[in-house]
């Protein structure tokens, strides 16, 4: 196993905030387990900090592609808007119905 040299601390509040930002519900009983898992994940990633990257450009993409563009023309993708809307949990007059947001 990898060596977690400086284990990060993830507090209960950190977990709750992350859950909120990610729009997921977590049970109180899950918080401690998440805090531990997240701290381990973070600690693993922190190993990267040991590598000297001075003078290197950040890697933002790994495909090596650039300038992937299409002409400004409509493409028929197949599924019609009506068919696509069937995936919405609820609808009203062609609009997607969601829990009130204002």
């Amino acid at each position: 196993m990898y060596n977690i040299s400086h284990m990060s601390k993830i507090s209960k509040d950190d977990v709750l905030r992350l859950a909120k930002l990610s729009n997921i519900y977590i049970d109180d009983s899950q918080i401690d387990a998440f805090a531990k898992d997240l701290a381990e994940i973070l600690g693993y990633v922190e190993m990267l900090g040991e590598v000297d990257v001075s003078g290197l450009a950040p890697t933002e993409q790994v495909t090596g592609l650039k300038n992937v563009m299409r002409p400004d023309k409509v493409i028929d993708y197949g599924p019609s808007p009506k068919e696509l809307l069937k995936n919405a949990p609820a609808q009203e007059k062609n609009q997607i119905k969601v829990k009130r947001v204002l």
Binding site: Q61, N67, V68, R70, L84, I96
Partner: protein, 486 residues
């Protein structure tokens, strides 16, 4: 008002004039479309959907760069900005955080006759969100994703603005630049340019706490919202209270800004590079091609030329705006430019269009095809110069002819036949004058006593007797010489 100095920065979302969305090859014109008819798996953020960058949006962003006086960035790339809201099905917006396509730039404004350059920090490409509506009395909201993915260029100004008036001038000039460069349709009513204004006030060089008032879609609301914020913040501080850093909305009916509940309490967008969109590395060839397609004359070039004609600032701005107002009906500025070598004619054309033509267009009188426009104005110019048309008749003749589709073969013959041509034949008018003098002995007496007011009356009588066709200047001259001889 006080010794508080406002500091203002503006973010403007310009909707780019493309046929399809920024990352989906789906139609873009959501103005008249039924809800959710312009959508695809990409707009809905369905699993496996791969966004695909629209070349035209990149082209237009580069045009915007040139309009702002800078070269576009050769290297730029896209990032994900995460937040949850029903109008954003992917859970993130694709935008450009660290490497925007435009860095730097300038917008020149004029305040009280003085030019002031306003710095542009950056401009980046990003996708618009959908539209939420909230039916009255219901416990749900409705989402229309037609607008989701529409290409926007967000132009961010430096905090160089220090009054509501300057901010309005900046917004107006930015609009002109984007319209002249053909970057946007610029339909303000449909939100093609939306302004977010950051305002703070301070007594010293340290900036105060700022508020952001979002989604202003007219120059007037930019001005009014800023005026309101400056006043509100100044009063808060004078009462010893603190300004809260927050997002506010503008209530146009009440003419005030109000606190907006934020979309999310914790603002943490967790930006990350978007792995779906490879970076842009624009070639010199591409950049030069865009540059070569820019209009030769931008608003400032016109200002310089028109100033040389001796037009005043107000006339110049009306003519510059008219290019946008008239759309493709007719283009006045090039007509004037064609005749810059004949200063008198060019000046006549400028004045005529500002004072006569544009008001008639606004009244919906214009029917005449654009090929005839210049010919008609030149005929009017010539006939006026030859004293054949009074200024009143020139306007009447012009109004008559622009409301027809075609011009008569010879404007002068038409004008003569229809009685617009003024009689400058001295002997003919002399006869009418002599009749008028005989019929109005009292007025003649008055003039002899030095009451020159009566001259106006007699000229009126001559005009009446000639059914408006006499040249009034000539009539006046003849009245004077005939009375002197009496």
């Amino acid at each position: 008002m006080s010794d508080f100095e406002p500091t203002i920065g503006i973010e403007c979302h310009v909707q780019l004039k493309t046929k399809t969305k920024l990352f989906a090859a789906v139609g873009n014109d959501a103005r008249e479309a039924e809800p959710n008819t312009l959508i695809s798996h990409i707009c809905l953020g369905m699993p496996g959907a791969l966004p695909y960058l629209n070349e035209q949006a990149v082209d237009l962003a580069c045009r915007a760069a040139f309009a702002l006086g800078v070269e576009p960035q050769k290297f730029s790339k896209f990032d994900r900005k995460h937040y949850f809201y029903p109008d954003l099905p992917k859970g993130y917006q694709i935008t450009q955080l660290h490497h925007p396509i435009v860095l730097g730039g300038k917008v020149k404004i004029k305040i009280d006759g003085k030019e002031k350059p306003i710095g542009v920090t950056r401009a980046h490409l990003e996708e618009d969100a959908g539209k939420n509506t909230h039916p009255e009395g219901k416990d749900y909201s409705l989402v229309d994703l037609n607008r989701a993915g529409t290409p926007l260029l967000e132009i961010v100004s430096e905090p160089d603005l220090h009054s509501a008036q300057e901010a309005k001038a900046y917004a107006t000039e930015l609009y002109l630049l984007m319209k002249y460069a053909d970057v946007t349709e610029g339909d303000l009513y449909h939100g093609n340019m939306r302004f977010d204004v950051n305002v703070s006030v301070s007594k010293d060089s340290k900036l105060g706490i700022r508020t952001e008032t979002k989604n202003l879609n007219s120059f007037k609301s930019v001005e009014k919202a800023i005026e309101y914020e400056i006043k509100r913040q100044t009063e808060l501080i004078q009462k010893g209270k603190a300004v809260t850093q927050e997002t506010r909305g503008w209530d146009d009916a009440k003419q005030k800004t109000t606190t907006q509940r934020s979309k999310e309490e914790a603002h943490d967008y967790r930006y990350m590079p978007d792995p779906d969109i490879p970076p842009l590395e624009l070639t010199d060839k591409f950049i030069n091609k865009v540059k070569s397609e820019m209009p030769v004359m931008m608003p400032d070039d016109w200002r310089y030329k028109l100033k040389g004609l001796g037009l005043n600032d107000q006339q110049i701005e009306i003519l510059i705006q008219s290019e946008l107002e008239l759309q493709d009906k007719i283009s006045i500025l090039p007509l004037i430019e064609q005749h810059l070598s004949d200063k008198a004619l060019a000046k006549f054309l400028a004045n005529w269009n500002v004072n006569v033509f544009l008001p008639l267009v606004r009244e919906g009188k214009l029917k005449l095809g654009k090929d005839y426009h210049l010919a008609l104005e030149k005929s009017i110019y010539d006939l006026t110069n030859q004293n054949k048309l009074s200024s009143t008749n020139a306007k009447a003749l012009f109004e008559k002819l622009i409301s027809q589709e075609k011009l008569p073969e010879k404007v002068e013959d038409y004008a003569k036949a229809k009685g617009y041509i003024q009689v400058s034949d001295e002997s003919e008018i002399a006869k009418i004058v002599s009749d008028v003098l005989t019929a109005n002995p009292q007025a003649v007496e008055d003039i002899k006593k030095g009451e020159m007011k009566a001259t106006g009356f007699l000229v009126g009588q001559v005009m009446k007797a000639s059914r408006g066709q006499a040249n009034p200047a000539l009539a006046q001259k003849l009245i004077k010489s005939q009375i002197d001889k009496l």
